[in-house]
């Protein structure tokens, strides 16, 4: 199964992930990425992958379990 990981230490708050897949990604009040869920379903997976690829600091990754 696909799981999303976010490294908040390197996030620079670009918001690219939130723009691309708001069902999975959000930003806290300080602008740092938070995950609404780390398990995309069939409907959200494609855009979640796109968001991971767009992240400018490679803060996001996908792990297969």
């Amino acid at each position: 199964m696909m799981r999303i990981k976010a490294d908040t230490g390197v996030c620079v708050g670009s918001g690219q992930c939130v723009l691309t897949q708001p069902a999975i990604f959000d930003q806290d009040d300080d602008g740092i990425v938070t995950l609404l869920t780390d398990r995309p379903d069939d409907e959200t997976a494609a855009q979640a992958r796109a968001a991971v690829a767009l992240c400018p600091t490679r803060a996001l990754s996908i792990v297969q379990e």
């Binding site: 620079v12 708050g13 670009s14 939130v18 930003q27 796109a50 690829a53 600091t57």
Partner: protein, 407 residues
């Protein structure tokens, strides 16, 4: 002409002017086809690496072994003259020129101001600002109207007023001085406007230190006090950074977006038929024009191997976002303006830790402007042939000086 190999000096001297207003300089394509990274000469003297393909551009901009510090030896300062460089070296560094932990410490306190959610709350206010200037355009008794002065420059200026909490009564002052700073006028006029704004912003921050409001500067003051000492000078620099990074860029993109859409009527028709297409049309216009091409330069801090070449510590690297954004390997038919392309992986806002802090604000401004302008003035057209428009073909930030429109 001899074909150059990666690592050999290519016959390109930077900067080069854009020829066709709708395309990168012809040399960009030639170099990109030769190698992902070439060595080029700088008009200012010396050489630098030129990164022209999308994949390598992303790799360099995301790589912490490259520094953004313009004061470091070897940094390719091909866009700056000696006076500006002197000024730069004498001022405290901005987040734009910082690396790693220092950069993170400067950027982190501010990013909460630019989240997608917080910016959505600004939307109605930006809509009001845009409507106000379009009202004025419609009420003008003379046409053509210069869109640059009537809309492109004032909208982002007032949005920055909103962000910084500049009181309403000072909006005219703020707007006129910011417009002067980017006008084709004498160096003295521009410097005077700059100095007046600096004094104004200094005073504004002092006022907010005793009477905080609901704005970015007041929240930064509160945050700094909570964490220790207030850095007044640092806040003046931050306010100026937001102004210089967010005003002319957005203004130029408004003007060019309008030129781009008006000269591709079938693309404009797609957007006006369904405003749901506007966000992606904005992405495409950002890619197509890539107005901030030259700003993503770096200097290597270690020896490394990248894109088939060996780059040594202390060597300068220029990442051409424009070349990368026209790389056919990343964008099919990259020379076409296609508002339905649906591609967000362009580098118009840069990549890596410095990727534009204000990008989502800029996106929103552009979306609102294009939607509102073409809805309220559907008969809008250029009042001069494209060939006669004064494009800023040699400027650091691409744009157009004047844009006569009528309807």
């Amino acid at each position: 002409m001899t074909k150059s190999v990666a690592g050999e000096l290519a016959d390109l001297e930077l900067p080069v002017e854009r020829g066709c207003p709708f395309a990168p300089p012809a040399a960009y394509e030639r170099l990109r086809e030769q190698a992902p990274i070439n060595k080029v000469r700088l008009v200012s003297g010396g050489e630098a690496w030129w990164v022209s393909r999308h994949e390598e551009a992303r790799a360099v901009l995301a790589d912490p072994r490259f520094s953004s510090d313009k004061r470091k030896d070897g940094f390719p300062l091909f866009t700056l003259d000696a006076a500006t460089l002197q000024q730069l070296r004498s001022q405290p560094p901005l987040m734009l020129g910082m690396d790693r932990a220092e950069h993170s410490a400067a950027r982190r306190p501010v990013i909460g101001e630019f989240t997608v959610k917080r910016l959505a709350a600004l939307r109605p206010r930006i809509q009001d600002i845009v409507d106000h200037f379009i009202d004025d355009m419609l009420a003008a008794d003379r046409r053509p109207v210069d869109l640059v002065q009537a809309l492109s420059l004032p909208v982002p200026s007032l949005v920055i007023c909103e962000l910084l909490g500049v009181p309403y009564t000072d909006h005219d002052f703020f707007q006129s001085r910011t417009a002067m700073m980017v006008r084709r006028t004498s160096q003295e006029d521009r410097q005077r406007a700059f100095a007046e704004l600096r004094v104004y912003i200094d005073g504004l921050i002092t006022r907010k230190e005793s009477e905080p409001g609901d704005d970015l500067l007041s929240r930064q003051i509160a945050r700094q006090r909570q964490n220790g000492a207030l850095d007044h000078a640092g806040l003046v620099s931050l306010a100026f950074l937001l102004l210089t990074a967010g005003h002319e860029t957005t203004a130029n993109m408004i003007s060019l977006g309008v030129v781009g859409l008006l000269s591709h009527p079938e693309q404009l028709a797609l957007v006006t038929a369904d405003p749901g297409r506007t966000p992606m049309a904005v992405e495409e216009l950002l890619r197509y024009f890539t107005i901030a091409d030259g700003v993503t330069s770096r200097v290597a801090t270690e020896d490394m191997e990248i894109g088939g070449v060996g780059i040594k510590a202390g060597e300068g690297v220029i990442v051409s976002m424009l070349s990368a954004n026209w790389d056919p390997a990343a964008f099919k038919d990259s020379g076409e303006l296609d508002v339905e392309r649906g591609a967000r992986h362009h580098l118009a806002f840069g990549f890596g830790p410095h990727q534009c802090l204000g990008q989502n604000l800029a996106r929103m401004e552009l979306q609102i402007v294009f939607d509102t302008l073409f809805r309220r003035i559907p008969a809008l057209r250029l009042a001069a042939p494209i060939e006669d428009l004064p494009f800023k073909s040699d400027a650091v930030i691409y744009g157009v000086h004047e844009l006569p429109v009528t309807w």
